[in-house]
Amino acid sequence: MRAQGMMRGVRGIFLITALVVVGFPLVWVTLASFKTPAQLNDPSLIMFSPSLTNWAYVVEEGILQAAGRSALVAFITVAISAIAGSAAAYVISSYKAGGTATRFGILAAQVLPPAVLVFPFLTLAYVTQVNDTLIPLIFAHLSFVLPVVTWFLIGFFDSVPRSLEEQARVDGFSRFKAFLLVVLPQVYPGLGAAIIFGFTLSWNDMFYGLILTPTKSAILPVAIAGFNTFRGVELGSMSAAILVAVIPVLIASFFIQKRLVQGISGGAVKY
């Protein structure tokens, strides 16, 4: 019994340490975003009267517009992915449509290094005169969001009993109606999680954004990187910019954590 109590103590200390390691950088950046340059010079300063100068500065520098562009790209990417992805995931799950090759393609596209695809997107954007606009970026984000969303949904369609659809067909539903009105509602929780996860992936991408929209339509991660400077005085505004990108996804993530496992593993692990 005493050994068990000790184990529990060790576990508690371990988890608390992990929480501190996770929380410390985030708390630090939050504090820094409210500090004046003079206060930033003192790393030990925890109690101080907060200043909104950094926040005002990043808003003035257009961080909200960048956030808006990021949200727009993510929204369009996810909308297309959800429609094409749920239809495909359903037939792949129920009818093994496309066979092994399709499933392999979907997995491979998710883990494909972006360095492979980014240069074609860049040259094609120049050729079609849409360089430094959001259009090539949306295609680039589709290249990984669509496979992730589809993969995610296959895992959820797999857990819907086939009898449900068969019953709907007996009741006179067409195959498409059976899908739309009977099977799809069964995976709404999974679809919701896939949409939020896909949105997060698009929102968080910097590599494609850096190359395809480096200047006038810079998306949020690229805009944040713009605050990166060797001059210490701007660390406060950099911190504020970081938080603009981080806070929305952290809030969104709380709603999908439980469903992520089933989605990421393509149904290999039920949770």
């Binding site: 988890l15 360095a115 860049l122 290249s143 593993s265």
Partner: protein, 277 residues
């Protein structure tokens, strides 16, 4: 119903993939006027004999091995602790998983700030303990970058391993406990073997993702000191964007693809076996 997916994927993945292969066979450059010339395998020969690329491949694999090893061990320990935890369970889990949702450039910049010599918290704490450590100095920078990866991606391991642990059937564990087996024995002989399938999927997914490391390098070292932290993705970016040599950069990307392809196939077979059984 597969059609919409095939059309969109054809435009967003298939077309650029084919075009990338074409680019890799030309002398295409962003600064050059006129039509690119087909140069055949020249880019591939140039890339394969480029010591910088091999250096970057070595650096990247070192990075992946360090980061994923730490993530696996720490992730497993955290998952085991969380599984037994009862008090404040959901909030602890939510907080510990948070880093994996943050955009990597924000994580990179945050650590650049934290590790800053004059203004950062970590050097400050070390100084007050009477010691110091040059986190981004020669011989140390790559390890520091790997530790940033560990901070952000251990949660991914925790997420998958915790799910794996909770899906393990209870009976064998109970039986072993009744037979008087100790905790270490139960873990090694029952828990770990039953966890291996999901563990291998988690390690493969994480490795494939870590191979793409770019943002931390971009935010902190820009490849330095020297070329110590030049990763494949960063090296390709430099060749293509800073030096404008898109043809050569595309050939590098394909060489990278050939290297990771076996890993992708292996991962697919792992997952496919589990879902079809």
């Amino acid at each position: 119903m597969l059609l919409p997916l095939l059309v969109v994927a054809g435009i967003a993945v298939g077309l650029p993939l084919v075009y990338a292969f074409y680019l890799s066979l030309t002398d295409f450059s962003l600064t050059q006027q006129g039509v690119a010339q087909i140069v055949g395998a020249d880019n591939y020969i140039a890339s394969l004999t480029n010591e910088g690329l091999w250096g970057a491949i070595g650096t990247t694999f070192t990075y992946v091995i360090i980061a994923v090893s730490f993530e696996t061990v720490i992730g497993l320990l955290i998952a085991l602790s969380l599984q037994k935890q009862k008090w404040a369970r959901d909030i602890t889990r939510a907080m510990l998983l948070a880093p994996m949702f943050i955009t990597p450039i924000a994580v990179g910049l945050t650590f650049r700030f934290l590790l800053n010599d004059q203004l950062g918290a970590i050097p400050y704490l070390l100084k007050s303990l009477g010691t110091n450590y040059d986190f981004l100095g020669s011989g140390k920078a790559l390890f520091t970058l790997a530790m940033i990866d560990v901070w952000q991606w251990t949660p991914f391991m925790v997420l998958l391993l915790l799910a794996g642990l909770e899906s393990i059937p209870k009976q064998p564990l109970e039986a072993a406990r009744v037979d008087g087996a100790n905790a270490v024995y139960i873990f090694r002989r029952i828990t770990l073997p039953l966890l291996t399938p999901i563990l291998s999927v988690a390690v493969l997914l994480r490795s494939l993702d870590a191979l793409k490391v770019f943002e931390y390098v971009y935010a902190t070292t820009r490849g330095g000191p020297g070329t110590e932290t030049e990763t494949i993705q960063y090296f390709t970016y430099q060749t293509g964007i800073q030096f404008f040599r898109l043809g050569e950069a595309s050939s590098m990307a394909f060489i990278l693809l050939l290297i990771v392809l076996p890993l992708i196939v292996f991962l697919f077979r792992r997952i496919d076996r589990r879902t079809s059984s």
